[in-house]
Assembly symmetry: C3
Homo-oligomer: 277 residues x 3
């Protein structure tokens, strides 16, 4: 009963927040970001009157927020009860871009990553999507984490290259935080990168190329059957090291990957947005 | 040798049954059902001369029957030997509709559910298909279970809503039986419902909405990585309660789901057939 | 340092090999094979200047070779260190054809199978692709294993039949070797066959039909959920026996499968290349 009352109050507060000028802020910030960083920002924060809706972005990505998650669902998802509010990122295509974007969101907001899972998906392609849940004690923190993630996606999709035959993905961060630690076991605070190739054979070659090109530490190699890729047709290399070495490893792997993927269907793989590494 | 003889006899019996007017019965019943329940019945019981063929239906669903399953296959599939005959339902798209339909079949026939598995599929979508096996001591019971299932599918696809970006699914039964118990752990004899959202982020919101809208008991929440969805891009909530509460929870979740799914590609999600809840 | 030096030398040697007339040999052999066996050979060994590239073939299949696999990757993939060189086969569609082709490659070359995994894929279809890694002490053996596999694929795709609704696959070898042993537990040196049907319901019928048609020993039945199919929508029967019995079982299953698959979308399933069984 108290629970119901609290929910009603939260619902009203959320509605008020939705009506207040604050909801226009994300778009304004998106434009400012676009101007400042010369990366397009195509996240869309309109289109749905629900208070739980935050926005959509590239990769069939949706961002939602729940101010006061039901206790039964809380328990079923094994989320620490202290996080009353959750932010949710879900997508059909990506995982890497969303997780690296969520990592920026964790750094920028007062939130934690409470769940990261990789469904086998990609809208008919060889890879997977993702489900990421942020926990926060305050709903505004959860909402902000989702907003930051959505706005980072145009950048993190920059080194995703697809053709009808497969895809390549490269991600880099100068300083890994809790999302990358949870998803890939990245050492916190260190430079960290990943190479992804699909079909999986190409991923093996990328992994070998990256590690030979610079002095980096292998964190892991995920294959279709060893538990790291949810049976998707990819091999993922995760590695850390000093910033220059991680970038050098990625650049070498990317050069090889673009040549090899092209052999399957003759199509030149192109960046989904604008390369950032 | 006795085994071979028995099989030959069974084969002949099956052929006779196939020639007898009984095979026309399903279609006749289908038309009667259509008339009585105002739900279309598009199951098709013709198109293949094999005695093992029963019919096809919506969702790329096929129904088959094996009068006397080979002992080696019987053992490999770990089916109780007392069920000499099996009925088989397989599909590319659905699972929920087929399992709820199979639940009606179990109530209506002298058969048991011996296997339910969810392949990751959906013909390029975010979800899964299903493989359902009925066991029966008598082949006519196995066949009838398959027929009933195929005929129920137009109804159970009524609250399946798809767009190119994802899908929503809602199912309700006033009284759960053995298929729902085996697949989802539904308490037998109680009202039972499910909400499904894809991409998975939407499924989390549906779950929270349903549970807050009415006094229902959470049976489980399946996520891409916790074993319940075969790594498909869905979150499934299963719940029971009194009949009115289960329906109320579904109706609230459906209202939210239709608004949120639309934000991803701008398409209005529409029912696959005719909503029944 | 010594490692780097060795790699540079190997790289140079590989480049020389790539420039030498030897690289034209595969194509020449491909043509000879086509002439001799009356099976088309569409493997393509050109199109990429990288020394690691071997060729592409039907099923979105790519073949690669790494002369001296990095020690870190070696360890992460749990490959026996004595195999410095690896050959890699990866594909979006198939698994069965590639594994049966790899089995011929193992017989014909001085190489071992060190990894076989089945990603859930098929470019939107109901099945899976594969990742196969050969280990060899000498790079020329690894390369040759990949070449042989690519050239066998037109034959092994002969009894793969697809429609928009599903697929059937049949494979046969007179004498199973290490690839089939590793992937399916085939008894080495014996005749061995598989039947595959998708959606999975059809695979159950094929399994029953095959085992009833001839005196064969069931090696296993893989279903979507029992670990053998990576959650793809297939049932796979594996079996051995004397050569005539294995073929007879397959021929009976194929006859039934072609009739049943057709019922789903009305399309006549046709061979991907030319039937060989």
């Amino acid at each position: 009963m108290n629970e119901d009352l609290m929910q009603k109050i939260m619902g009203e507060v959320m509605k008020k927040m939705a009506d207040a000028p604050a909801t226009e802020a994300p778009e304004a910030k998106c434009a400012a970001k676009e101007e400042a960083e010369k990366v397009p920002c195509t996240a869309n924060f309109t289109g749905c009157g629900l208070t739980e809706f935050v926005g959509t972005a590239i990769g069939s990505t949706i961002g939602l927020v729940i101010a006061n998650l039901d206790a039964g669902i809380h328990e079923a998802l094994k989320i620490d009860p202290k996080y009353r509010s959750i932010g949710i990122i879900g997508d059909r295509t990506g995982a890497g871009p969303q997780i690296f974007a969520a990592d920026e969101a964790v750094k920028a907001t007062n939130s934690e990553i409470v769940l990261i899972e990789l469904p086998r998906d990609t809208e008919g392609g060889a890879g997977h999507g993702s489900l990421i849940i942020f926990g926060a004690e305050d709903v505004s923190d959860a909402r902000r984490a989702v907003e930051v993630t959505l706005k980072e996606l145009d950048r993190t999709f920059g080194d995703v290259y697809g053709t009808s035959a497969g895809h390549l993905e490269f991600q880099y961060t100068a300083r890994a935080s809790y999302a990358l630690n949870k998803a890939f076991g990245a050492p916190i605070g260190k430079s960290f990168g990943i190479t992804v190739g699909a079909p999986a054979a190409i991923g093996v070659l990328l992994a070998d190329t990256a590690v030979k090109a610079a002095n980096v530490d292998v964190v892991g190699v995920s294959t279709p059957g060893n538990g790291g890729t949810s049976y998707s047709n990819e091999v993922i290399l995760t590695f850390s090291g000093d910033s220059g070495a991680v970038r050098q490893a990625i650049i070498a792997a990317r050069e090889v990957g673009l040549q090899v993927l092209k052999t399957l269907d003759g199509t030149e793989p192109t960046s989904t947005t604008v390369p950032y590494i």
